[in-house]
Symmetry: C2
Subunit: 612 residues, 2 copies
């Protein structure tokens, strides 16, 4: 492997030396790009090598991931390895004389926003556990909106004060400090998704952290844009209010764009015969989803939010109007693109530490910033958790199921994990590329190093932290077992299979849940679902289940082997959501689904089959 | 639709006007790219609009394709429509004041070679009918190697003489004229694949034209590179010999790289447990294939040839070591990527007619070049067809099956179709971007217009030509019916299903074939296979079939409904190849498959099941 790499770099140097110096790499615009004519063929050679190296790194990362999973190594995570691989190759590229490949593999924010981020967000929306997401929407929005504001402002103010002390010799205005604050408040959906998915963390915690990190990118982008508009001006109260108004508008409009595109796809699929041409159908579904992202970005809205909700809407409606082939193809393709993008991003981050030429590293600033992001995260997570817990208690006070309010609260170990999971990601780096002013090179270097540090420090210790905090891991991910099922023909349902979220057993396991979770057994997910289901009134849709499920065998024995048609079950899960979602569920079933779904009777049949 | 477009362009103009003029688009390197600092957020807006517009065009093209297929419109082909859509939007972009989006959607040869071309080539190799390809390898190589040389030289000489007449006022050296000749000799795999696939043309003709167009790109690239090395020098005999030697070396090494990578993938899949992690497995298969392309290009070899043979080798060996999920996922993903790339390319060609700013259109030169490519193609196709027919007759003279030699010949209507199918494609345009010298803008414009003209003229009349020449269309494509089958569980085989290539009925339909083909019925493919199979000695592997197949019902009734496990059948087809491939088949079965395939016994079992 090392020898192979050495060979490639030897070739690169050789190629650089023999080639015309007017050549320019086509995949990169840099300020140093020469103005001369380009030769596509020589360009092609260099971009080929650049792509070869990057792909080789992705292959190495994927292979390491396989190896780690195969050997059940939990202490090192593939994302950390990806960054180190990137750094290693970046260092080699830095010390080799040629600069063509080095330029080509530099972090490019255009690539990041247009090619690497969308597949991850789309796949997140498509694979999202909708019931869990909407059940925790209150906590998610609390952490995402006020949390990010608090974090950005605390961080910005600390940085502003530090630079005013003059120890580093750089001068940063308050607006620029707040810009950096916004940049470094974007907790990363990529890292969280990747690490938590592989540890199969308890869905509630997973959903809160993942949901927050998905949504707060939008806020950070809008905050950053707003700050940059005031670059060189003084901050006033009206500009703060304007920023808040802008954010709320952006979020709402972006969400609507995503939902409208999702509904549009469902209607197109319903009212055309395109399912007869599944190849074209698959392409169109993918393209429409991307259109929502680019349209939203083009309108100065948040493409991330649009794409996320487009994915959710597609999975909820359009998915059931697709041909079977397209259902399978979209799942596989979204997953593949997301997996590749994730690995690309981490490698890119590692590479860019050495291939960015304009960086000015200031150790003191980096240390201060690293400490500050911990402080700002602390200020956001713990007070807001208390607020959420206080609100929950107040809501449940005097209600009939007062004994169960604890399941809506965020326990101290979850709070600590939410704090710990605030890794910063590539979105921050991409944003920091847009900084202006003379301090740019210092600030960009700081952001880059801090992001890599958080991924290595927090990401690398996530496994240990999960154990220390007694957080349940190894919970079955419904979507994954779904994949295995997809390629087989539908099986007749067995009566004694478990249907999460519809079990009417009221919290009978809630005392035992704590001790079971410590063993990390895979049954805990279902226990959790039982607890959640306890909130739903018994008349909701569980009537048919009650008689059959009283005599089911112990759940743990079947949790692994049960292969159920989980598409239909996500509907069931949605039905068993909390009271506050009841109106939507009703509206969805009575109005939206008849309008949007083609084969509604078929879906009902399959649902009936499960509930038999 | 039109209103929507108008809205977008209005927005674009608006956005251009309100934005900082220092903004630069990140997806484009142009000589006019300003040297100033870039703002990723504003960049993102413009690249978002650019991508939105391009994707919208792809959506329109795909929707038109669906509509045309749905209404059974044969006179207009989607590729022609794609070009027109591209031209229409390119024209609008040209007349709108802003230049950012115009720059972003310009034809970029780096994008073309690194992102658009590989998926198409990979999918071609993966979906290639291996038996047909290797059965016609003689004809394919004849047209690809000497044919391209003849075409390039004839075209180059005509152009050189024309420019020397001085009517257009441009001065082109012989080397540059030969470069343009090479550029315009690259018949396009994209167009041919797309048009012939949708008409389901007779596999033999399809294979020859498709194989030629795939391989001749490599030759054109090498010829072009060689010519450009001698730019500004006089042509000598030694440089011609050097070019020929370089070509042969390139072709062989590229082929070996592809095969080695394919075998490597098969071995990795066999000797690891990676099939337990199908998501990683799918990514790795895709990445390894791409590595062969970039490695080969990086070594100054032909990535196209490597990727093509990597795809073929993967399908022949590695495919059978993959998990079922990966088999399905790779097929769907390769198909999706290829379909999207094809549509992108045509739209790009149309767009670039108006968005390339440096073009100098010389009508006389364009007309002369258009006539010249017809002459040069004529000089290549017809003499070489005679040579092939003459060789075939000489080979079969005195042989036992002298009556059947006609099936190896290329009849006059096929010759005409090969001439007609010589559309020029995007490879030529991408190459022409590498032209040097003061005549570049004229020559590039000429190449671009001629390419678009050939696609519109020849591509648009292909349907009519197929009818005029009495060429069989509507032949079942095995690979497509395969897809439908893939997502279901394996069915037990029925004895009376048709297995092409193994039917031992000796040419009993050969008299009727002509009249049947004129009706365009789908049974003709099987007749053709019968004729082909007649060459194979009866003892080869057809023994078990003979008794069962004598009493099968008429084929036409079953052609549509028969769903056979065609993976296993491609092996059968390979077994029934001509005598000259017998040694390889033997070596393959006895040595390569036991070494490379994991579940050989399983494959044999499934084959036995079919032959029962």
């Amino acid at each position: 492997m090392i020898r192979l790499l050495a060979l490639f770099f030897a070739r690169q140097i050789l190629a650089n030396e023999v080639t015309d110096p007017t050549d320019e790499n086509p995949v990169l615009v840099g300020p140093e790009a020469p103005e001369e004519e380009t030769n596509p063929l020589t360009e092609e050679i260099f971009s080929s090598w650049a792509l070869f190296i990057v792909l080789l790194l992705v292959v190495s990362a994927l292979w390491s991931s396989y190896y780690l999973q195969q050997r059940r190594v939990k202490s090192i995570h593939e994302t950390v390895l990806s960054i180190f691989y990137g750094m290693f190759v970046g260092l080699i590229l830095r010390v080799t004389p040629g600069h063509y490949i080095q330029d080509a593999v530099k972090f490019n924010s255009g690539y990041f926003f247009n090619f690497l981020l969308p597949p991850i967000i789309l796949n997140s929306g498509y694979e999202l556990h909708q019931a869990n997401f909407f059940r925790n929407i209150g906590s998610i929005l609390t952490f995402a909106i006020p949390g990010t504001f608090i974090s950005a402002i605390v961080l910005g103010v600390i940085l502003f004060i530090w630079t005013k002390l003059g120890l580093d010799g750089i001068d940063v205005s308050l607006v620029d400090a707040l810009s950096v604050g916004a940049t470094l408040s974007a907790t990363d959906p990529v890292t969280i998704l990747s690490i938590f998915n592989s540890y199969k963390v308890d869905p509630k915690l997973y959903t809160i952290i993942f949901g927050e990190s998905l949504l707060n990118d939008a806020i950070c982008i809008v905050m950053f844009e707003t700050c940059q508009k005031f670059h060189g001006q003084a901050v006033s109260v009206s500009s703060v209010l304007k920023g808040i108004g802008l954010f709320l508008m952006t979020f709402t409009v972006s969400l609507l764009i995503g939902v409208v595109v999702g509904v549009f796809i469902a209607l197109v699929l319903k009212h055309s015969l395109i399912r007869r041409y599944p190849q074209i159908e698959t392409c169109l579904v993918l393209l429409f989803a991307y259109e929502s992202y680019f349209f939203s970005n083009g309108c100065h809205m948040s493409g991330i939010v649009s794409l996320l909700f487009c994915g959710i809407t597609m999975k909820h409606y359009a998915y059931f109007n697709m041909s079977r082939r397209t259902q399978i193809a979209t799942k596989y393709i979204f997953q593949l693109l997301a997996q590749l993008s994730e690995n690309f991003i981490f490698i890119y981050l590692g590479l860019s530490l050495f291939t960015e030429v304009e960086l000015v590293f200031r150790p003191m600033l980096i240390i201060v910033t690293t400490i500050s992001i911990c402080i700002s995260r602390w200020c956001a997570v713990f007070p807001l958790s208390r607020l959420i817990n206080w609100t929950t208690r107040a809501k449940h006070k005097g209600g009939p199921s007062a004994i169960n309010y604890t399941q809506d609260e965020i326990p101290p170990n979850y709070q600590m994990m939410i704090f710990w999971a605030g890794l910063r990601g590539a979105v921050g780096v991409a944003l920091a590329m847009g900084l202006q002013g003379e301090a740019k090179s210092s600030l960009l270097a700081t952001v880059l190093v801090v992001v890599v540090l958080t991924v290595i420090l927090f990401g690398g210790t996530t496994a240990g932290m999960l154990e220390t905090l007694n957080i349940r891991v190894g919970v079955i991910d419904e979507q994954e077992s779904d994949d295995e099922f997809d390629i087989e023909a539908p099986k007749p349902m067995q009566l004694n299979q478990i249907i999460p979220g519809t079990t009417p057993v009221y919290s009978i396991y809630s005392d035992a849940a704590g001790s079971r979770s410590r063993t990390g057994s895979q049954q805990s997910f279902y226990n959790n679902e039982d607890e959640d289901a306890a909130d739903a009134p018994p008349d909701m849709n569980d009537d048919e289940m009650t008689s059959d499920l009283d005599d089911i065998p112990p759940m743990a024995n079947q949790a692994q082997s049960s292969k159920i048609n989980l598409q239909s079950m996500s509907f069931n899960n949605l039905l068993s959501m909390d009271d506050h979602a009841k109106w939507f569920t009703h509206f969805d079933e009575q109005v939206l689904k008849p309008v949007l779904l083609d084969n509604l009777t078929e879906n009902n049949n399959s649902k009936d089959k499960i509930e038999d």
